[in-house]
C-alpha cells in the first residue's frame, strides 16, 4: 500500500484499508437513484434544453413577474415553477441552467485534471527540484483564498464563462497534482519501471505507458467527485457576482437574484438551490461508489 505522504493535508489520516468482503458487497449495488437523479436533473435538461423548456429563459414578460409555482395560491400551470422578477419562467431557466452547469463543470474538470495530472506525474516521477518547485506551486495555490482570487480575476478578465472556467481550474488543479504525485512516487520505485529504464525507454514513454495507466483510476474518481465541487464553486462565484454574468440562467445567479425576495417570493431562490443540492449530492454518491469500485485505498478521503 502506498504511503500517502502529506495525506493529512487532505484531511485524511493514514488508515488501513477496509475488509475485502465489504468491497465486494458494495460492487454489486449500483447507485441507481443518484444516477437517475443526475440524468433527470442534469444530463437530459442540458442536452435537450431546446425541446423541453417551455419558454425562452432570457425573455420575460413584466406583467407576469413574481408569479408563484403552480401548486401555490395564485399560481397557475402556465408557469409551473413560477416566475422571477423579470417575469421569466423559472422552469425554463432551471433547464438551461443545467446546461451551463454541465458545460462549466466538464470543461473545468478536464482543464484542471489535465494540468494537475501532468504536473503530478512529472513531480512524482522525477522528484528532486522539479518536485520541490511543483509542490511549492501547489502550496501557494492551496494557501490563496479561493473566493477572493475569483473575485479579483473576474475584475481583471471580465465576467463570462471562460473566466469562470479559468478561476475554477486554477483553484482545483492542485488537488489532482497532490494525489497523482503520491501515486507516481509509489509507482516509480517498482521493478517494472526500473526494467523499462534499463531497456532504454525514454522518460516520457515510461510515464505515458507505465505510470499513467496506474493512476487513471484515481483520476477518474477525483474527476467525478470534482464535478460536484465545480458546480458548487461556480454557484458560489455567481452568487457573489463573480461568476456567470446576467442574464444567463446560472443556478447560482438565480439564488442570488431571489435573495431579496426570500420572504414574499421564496421559489426564486429555493428552487435553483434545491437543484444544485440534488445534483451535487447525486454526483457525490456516484463518485463514492466509483471510488469503492476502482480504488478502495482512497476510501477515507
Amino acid at each position: 500500500m502506498a504511503l500517502q505522504v502529506g495525506a493529512w493535508r487532505r484531511g485524511t489520516p493514514i488508515v488501513a484499508a477496509p475488509a475485502l468482503k465489504e468491497g465486494a458487497e458494495r460492487a454489486r449495488r449500483l447507485p441507481l437513484i443518484p444516477l437517475a437523479l443526475l440524468l433527470v436533473l442534469l444530463v437530459i435538461p442540458a442536452v435537450f434544453a431546446e425541446w423541453i423548456a417551455p419558454y425562452d429563459p432570457l425573455e420575460g414578460s413584466l406583467v407576469a413577474r413574481l408569479q408563484p409555482p403552480a401548486w401555490e395560491a395564485g399560481g397557475n400551470t402556465t408557469y409551473l415553477l413560477g416566475t422571477d422578477k423579470q417575469g421569466r419562467d423559472l422552469l425554463s431557466r432551471i433547464i438551461y441552467g443545467a446546461r451551463i452547469s454541465l458545460q462549466v463543470s466538464i470543461v473545468a474538470v478536464i482543464v484542471s485534471g489535465a494540468i494537475g495530472t501532468v504536473l503530478g506525474l512529472v513531480s512524482g516521477y522525477y522528484g528532486g527540484w522539479v518536485d520541490t518547485v511543483i509542490m511549492r506551486l501547489v502550496d501557494i495555490s492551496l494557501s490563496l483564498p479561493l473566493v477572493l482570487i475569483g473575485l479579483v480575476l473576474v475584475i481583471v478578465m471580465g465576467p463570462g464563462l471562460t473566466t469562470v472556467v479559468v478561476v475554477v481550474s486554477l483553484l482545483l488543479w492542485s488537488r489532482y497534482a497532490r494525489q497523482i504525485r503520491g501515486e507516481a512516487l509509489a509507482i516509480r520505485n517498482q521493478d517494472y519501471i526500473a526494467r523499462a529504464r534499463v531497456a532504454g525507454s525514454s522518460d516520457a514513454r515510461i510515464i505515458t505507458l507505465h505510470v499513467f495507466p496506474n493512476v487513471v483510476n484515481t483520476l477518474i474518481v477525483l474527476a467525478t467527485l470534482n464535478v460536484g465541487q465545480v458546480i458548487l464553486l461556480e454557484a458560489t462565484l455567481s452568487f457573489l457576482g463573480a461568476g456567470i454574468p446576467r442574464p444567463l440562467p446560472s443556478w447560482g445567479v438565480m439564488v442570488a437574484d431571489g435573495r431579496d425576495h426570500i420572504v414574499a417570493a421564496w421559489w426564486i431562490a429555493m428552487v435553483p438551490g434545491l437543484a444544485i443540492m440534488l445534483v451535487v449530492l447525486a454526483m457525490n454518491m456516484v463518485g463514492d461508489w466509483l471510488r469503492d469500485q476502482l480504488d478502495p485505498r482512497l476510501r477515507q478521503a
Binding site: 425573455e59 395560491a73 446576467r246
Partner: protein
C-alpha cells in the same frame, strides 16, 4: 489496542481543544469589533405580512417586536446602505452620497427649506451678488458655536473650509468645481466674507448650499490643533450642527449626540442619532420589523411587506424627486471647441438621431413603472427640467407621446429608415449598473433590453463593475452603449454633467455643440427671466435630439416606525443623500 500509547494524551488534548473552542464561540463578541451594542436585542425578524398565517413576532419574542404604543427612544437608529468610503474629513475623504455619514454634524452657508426646496439662510444670514457680477458677499450669523468648545464660527472658518475642499487629492465631489470656479476667498471681517469667482456662475449659490454636498463649514481652530486631516482614528473636525460626533464603528455605524448647549437653529428631539449600515434590503426590513431600527429606505418590492404593518409609515420627500434615465454613451467631439475636428465615433449607430428616437419609442414606460416602482414614477418628459421649475414648456408634455412615447411599430420604422433591419441588425451594449438610490436599476435595464430586442435590436449586456465602467467611461471608451443613471441634481448641474463637455467632465452623455454654447451662456446669466428663456431653448434642443432614454422622476421615500417618529420633513434626494435628519420629530 493499536492506539493505546497515544490515546490518553490524545483524549486530554482533544477535550481541552474542544472546550477552548466552545468557550471562544460562546464568548460575547469582542469589544474591539464594536458590534451592534445596546438596544440590539436579537432580531425577531418576522415579516409576518405574507400570505402565510402570521407567525408574528408578538408571540415569539418579548419587547423586541412591534409595540402598539408610542415609544420614546433615546437613540434614533436609521439604517441605510453602507457608504462606499468611510472617512472623517468631509472636505477630503467623501464624495457626495457618502457625506451622509457626517451630515448631521455640519451646516452650510445656505440651507434648503424642507418643504419647498428653496434656499433659506443658514450660517450666512444674507448674501448678495456684487456689482461686478462675479463675486458673492456673505454676511455671517453671529454667535454660532463650534462643537466641543472650539469657539465661534467666523469668516476665517469659511475661508478655511474652502481651502480644505480644494486641497490636492481631495475626493470630495465638488472639489474640482470649487477649484475651477473660485479665484479667491476674501475675509473682510469676522462676519463678512467674499467669494471672488473667475467668471459669472449661476450655479455657485446652489453649490454652497445644502442642495449639494461639499463646503461643510468646519472649525479652523480644530484643524490647526490636530495639525492634519482627521483619519478614522481621530474624531472629525468640529462642525456647527445640532448634533455632534459621539463614536463610530467601521462598517457598522456612526453615532451622534445632541449638542449640550442651546443650538442657534433647533434643538434635536432625539438625544442620540445613529446611522447604521446594512446593505441587504431584507436585513433592513427585518431590523425595522424587530424594532432594532426606526427608519430605513426600502426597494419597491419590499415596501408592500413593510406597509402591511400598521405601525410603519411611508414618508415622501416634498420636492421633485430623483431623475432616472439612460444616457447614450457614444457621441463625443474630438475637440470640444472646434466643430470642424469631427466626432470620435462617427460610425456609431447611436450618432443617428433616428436610432436614438427609436430606442426611446421601443420602451414601454408604463409597464416598467408598474412592474418596478408600483406605479409611483412620474413620467419624465424632459430630463432635468420639471413642470415646477423655470424654463418649462408645457408643449413638451403634449408632444411627448408622439415624439418619445411607446410605439414599437414606429421604432421599427425609424430603425429601417436609419438603414437597419434583419439583414443588417443594429447591435448595442447595455450596462446594468446597480444604483444606490434605485436598487431596481439592473432589473430595469434588463427589462429595457427585452424591449429593444422586441424591435429587432441585438443587445449585449455588459456586466462590469463600477470601477472598470467608470474608467472606460471617463476615457470616452464607449462607442455604442447605454448605462443607467439617477440624480437629483440642480438643473444646471444636470445639464453640465450629462449633456455638455464643460469643466473637463466628459463621457456621461451625448455632446451637442448647440447645447454646449447655450450652456455657456446660461451658466453666466444671472437674470432669472433670461435664464428661463435659455433653458427653454436648451430643452427644445434636447427634446429634438434625444440625448438619453428618459424614464422617470421617482419620489424619495423612507419607511418610518410611527410609534417612534411622528414626522420627518425633507425636500427629497438632494445632494445624493438624506438631509434634515436633525429635524426629525419624535412621536409624543
Amino acid at each position: 489496542m493499536r492506539y493505546s500509547g497515544r490515546v490518553l494524551n490524545g483524549v486530554v488534548v482533544r477535550v481541552a481543544i474542544l472546550a477552548a473552542l466552545f468557550a471562544m464561540a460562546c464568548a460575547p463578541s469582542a469589544p474591539a469589533a464594536k458590534p451592534t451594542e445596546a438596544p440590539s436585542k436579537p432580531a425577531a425578524g418576522a415579516p409576518a405580512a405574507t400570505a402565510a398565517p402570521a407567525k408574528p413576532a408578538e408571540a415569539a419574542k418579548p419587547a423586541a417586536a412591534a409595540p402598539a404604543a408610542k415609544t420614546k427612544v433615546d437613540r434614533l437608529v436609521i439604517s441605510i446602505v453602507t457608504p462606499g468610503t468611510e472617512g472623517n474629513a468631509p472636505g477630503r475623504d467623501l464624495g457626495a452620497p457618502d457625506l451622509i455619514q457626517l451630515r448631521p454634524m455640519y451646516e452650510k452657508l445656505i440651507g434648503v427649506d424642507p418643504k419647498t426646496g428653496g434656499f433659506v439662510p443658514q450660517l450666512a444670514e444674507s448674501w448678495k451678488l456684487e456689482p461686478d457680477g462675479k463675486s458673492y458677499r456673505f454676511m455671517l450669523r453671529k454667535g454660532v458655536q463650534f462643537h466641543k468648545g472650539h469657539g465661534e464660527m467666523t469668516a476665517k472658518d469659511i475661508a478655511w473650509s474652502w481651502q480644505d475642499i480644494t486641497s490636492e487629492g481631495s475626493q470630495a465631489s465638488n472639489s474640482l468645481y470649487f477649484k475651477n470656479v473660485v479665484e479667491r476667498v476674501e475675509v473682510v471681517n469676522d462676519y463678512e466674507v467674499v467669494f471672488h469667482l473667475k467668471t459669472s456662475e449661476a450655479e455657485f449659490l446652489t453649490n454652497v448650499s445644502e442642495m449639494v454636498g461639499g463646503m461643510e463649514i468646519q472649525s479652523k481652530a480644530n484643524f490647526d490643533k490636530l495639525g492634519k486631516p482627521p483619519t478614522l482614528q481621530d474624531e472629525p473636525i468640529a462642525g456647527t450642527g445640532p448634533y455632534q460626533f459621539k463614536e463610530r464603528a467601521q462598517s457598522q455605524y456612526i453615532r451622534f449626540e445632541r449638542v449640550p448647549y442651546q443650538h442657534w437653529r433647533l434643538q434635536a428631539e432625539f438625544p442620540e442619532l445613529e446611522l447604521r449600515w446594512q446593505n441587504e434590503a431584507s436585513t433592513r426590513l427585518a431590523a425595522l420589523l424587530a424594532g432594532e431600527v426606526h427608519m430605513t429606505p426600502l426597494p419597491t418590492d419590499l415596501l408592500q411587506q413593510a406597509q402591511a404593518q400598521s405601525h410603519l409609515k411611508l414618508l415622501k420627500g416634498n420636492a421633485a424627486g430623483l431623475r432616472v434615465f439612460m444616457p447614450f454613451l457614444c457621441c463625443y467631439h474630438n475637440d470640444i471647441n472646434d466643430k470642424s475636428k469631427g466626432e470620435k465615433y462617427p460610425e456609431s449607430p447611436l450618432m443617428n438621431v433616428k436610432v436614438r428616437r427609436a430606442f426611446n419609442q421601443a420602451v414601454n414606460r408604463d409597464e416598467l413603472n408598474k412592474a418596478f416602482f408600483a406605479g409611483k414614477g412620474e413620467l419624465m418628459y424632459m430630463n432635468t427640467l420639471h413642470p415646477t421649475l423655470p424654463g418649462w414648456n408645457p408643449d413638451w408634455e403634449k408632444r411627448f407621446q408622439e415624439a418619445w412615447g411607446y410605439n414599437p411599430e414606429q421604432a421599427k420604422k425609424l430603425l429601417a429608415e436609419a438603414g437597419y433591419g434583419p439583414s443588417k441588425p443594429l447591435k448595442t451594449q447595455l450596462i446594468p449598473l446597480r444604483l444606490t438610490d434605485v436598487p431596481e436599476s439592473p432589473d430595469v435595464v434588463e427589462a429595457i433590453a427585452t424591449y429593444l430586442r422586441a424591435v429587432g435590436v441585438e443587445v449585449e449586456m455588459v456586466n462590469v463593475d463600477v470601477g472598470t465602467h467608470n474608467t472606460k467611461r471617463r476615457n470616452l471608451g464607449y462607442e455604442n452603449a447605454l448605462d443607467i443613471r439617477s440624480t437629483a441634481s440642480h438643473p444646471l448641474t444636470g445639464w453640465r454633467v450629462y449633456n455638455t463637455s464643460r469643466h473637463g467632465i466628459r463621457g456621461s452623455g451625448v455632446e451637442l455643440f448647440e447645447l454646449d454654447d447655450l450652456y455657456r451662456k446660461v451658466a453666466t446669466t444671472m437674470d432669472e427671466k433670461q435664464s428661463a428663456d435659455l433653458w427653454r431653448q436648451m430643452g427644445e434642443i434636447a427634446f429634438e435630439q434625444y440625448p438619453q432614454i428618459s424614464l422617470f422622476w421617482l419620489p424619495t421615500e423612507i419607511v418610518v416606525n410611527a410609534n417612534v417618529v411622528s414626522d420627518y420633513a425633507f425636500p427629497g434626494n438632494i445632494s445624493g443623500s438624506w438631509t434634515h435628519l436633525e429635524a426629525i420629530k419624535a412621536a409624543k
